[in-house]
């Protein structure tokens, strides 16, 4: 490769050349160090008064559990939280970045953040990196337009659903939701259902384990 090509990028936008180089090296048998992933089961449901998010707390590095009690439910705004599955660094970085952008937006507009704003910011960022930012998210919150729950995939596509699961344990958790979810659950029933779903992921998936974190978001507040 001639020096001039390396010095000046040909056009604007992210350059994916090194990704091709990495793929070529992987084919030749030179593997990069394995990074810390959150095997994970993350879930969310919409209930009567708002949204409940749940997550397990195991972080894995290949076959080893590197963190037995990591926090996968990230703060985005006082009324919006986001669970993250995939590469731990990617989920942390992307949620921190969008959380800061949302705070600046709140100062700018003087209003409470909306879930759809967080959704659009996350989706645009993930699409721009074409799936290389390996973050699969369940975003939930309550704003002036009501409770919302969305899933965001690493390539940037989103779905809006009344109940959602992501991560390696998502199939086990979805089985629980499909048989037991109904509209208009109250707070206790909702928490119980979310715990059951996470436990199903914990028991049936090797990548999920340890404790269950639950976050309840309503108009009045989150805890």
């Amino acid at each position: 490769m001639s020096k001039s090509l390396v010095d000046v990028p040909p056009m604007g936008g992210f350059s994916f050349d090194l990704c091709r180089r990495n793929d070529m090296l992987a084919k030749k048998g030179v593997n990069p160090p394995s990074f810390r992933k959150t095997g994970t089961t993350i879930v969310g449901i919409v209930f009567q008064d708002g949204v409940i998010l749940g997550a397990d707390t195991r972080a894995t590095e290949g076959p080893i559990v590197c963190d037995k009690n990591c926090e996968k439910i990230h703060y985005m705004a006082p009324n919006i939280y986001c669970c993250g599955a995939g590469t731990a660094a990617d989920t942390e970085a992307v949620t921190d970045m969008v959380s800061s952008q949302l705070q600046l937006h709140r100062y700018h507009t003087g209003r409470e953040s909306r879930v759809i704003t967080a959704l659009t910011l996350l989706k645009k960022h993930l699409f721009n990196y074409q799936g290389y930012v390996s973050a699969a998210l369940v975003l939930g919150g309550v704003d002036c337009t009501g409770p919302h729950l969305h899933t965001i995939y690493p390539h940037g596509s989103t779905d809006t659903l009344p109940f959602a699961t992501m991560g390696s344990g998502s199939l086990a958790a979805m089985a629980i939701f499909e048989s037991k979810y109904r509209e208009g659950l109250n707070r206790d029933e909702g928490i119980k259902l979310v715990c059951e779903a996470i436990c199903s992921g914990v028991f049936n998936d090797l990548g999920s384990g340890s404790n269950v974190d639950v976050c309840v978001i309503t108009k009045r507040g989150s805890n």
Binding site: G131, S157, S168, K180, Y181, R182
Partner: protein, 231 residues
């Protein structure tokens, strides 16, 4: 398991013109590899009040393309001072699809009604060609419908005939294509406005070798509890 595969919409999408407007129809299944990520997705998205788009192919790409087109159409409507025509909307989709053909993988059908041309359907498959047709089909399930439409399509149908045709076609494709399923969503656009309809999976006609669905097993599991959610 292929859960890391990009979110793609196997899909069956259809757009049909009738005497006075258009009917758009789609299934509702979005898959990541072999897992169904969303069994009740809405693949018919709004671009303007009178123009809708059916999306197939990569979920992320098609969502981003429709977001961009909606933004440009909104600006165009403001500058023009009147509702955008279906032709303009379709051409905007075509420009984005064609100019980014190396990076996008989406097949789209744009349909709507405007006061100059009435109901129109434009198909924009992979690669970014634009074709104006009286009816268009797309997605993986459309392979099973070419013969069906050759036989069943006729000019100057009424609104109800057109909607029934679309419903029947999507349900036939769902019966044979593994990547299509869920519910049938239809959108009817004419001079009076837009009507959205929704036909749940168990209400659709049964085709060759299909059995009646029974919820009896779920009833046993939930004998004392409330009904499970039915989509």
């Amino acid at each position: 398991m292929g859960l890391k595969a990009p979110h793609s919409m196997g899909t069956t999408i259809i757009g049909v013109t009738y005497n006075g407007g258009v009917v758009l129809g789609a299934d509702s299944r979005t898959s990541t590899g072999m897992y169904i990520a969303n069994r009740a997705s809405d693949k018919i998205t709004q671009l303007t009040d009178n123009v809708y788009i059916c999306r197939s192919g990569s979920a992320a790409n098609s969502q981003i393309v429709s977001d961009h087109v909606r933004y440009f159409l909104h600006q165009h409507t403001t500058q023009l001072g009147q509702p955008a025509t279906v032709k303009v909307a379709a051409n905007l989709v075509r420009l984005i699809s064609y100019n980014n053909k190396n990076m996008l993988e989406t097949g789209l059908i744009v349909g709507g009604w405007d006061k100059y041309e009435g109901g129109k359907i434009y198909a924009i498959p992979l690669g970014g060609t634009i074709i104006e047709q009286p009816f268009a089909i797309g997605g993986s399930g459309s392979s099973y419908l070419y013969g069906f439409f050759d036989q069943a399509w006729k000019e100057k149908m009424t609104k109800d005939e057109a909607e029934q045709l679309v419903g029947k076609a999507v349900s036939l494709a769902m019966a044979r294509d593994g990547a299509s399923g869920g519910v049938v969503r239809t959108v009817i656009i004419n001079s009076d406005g837009v009507i959205r309809n929704f036909y749940p999976g168990d209400g659709l006609p049964l085709w060759h070798e299909e059995l009646e669905s029974h919820n009896s097993l779920l009833d046993i599991l939930n004998a004392s509890g409330p009904e499970p959610m039915n989509i």
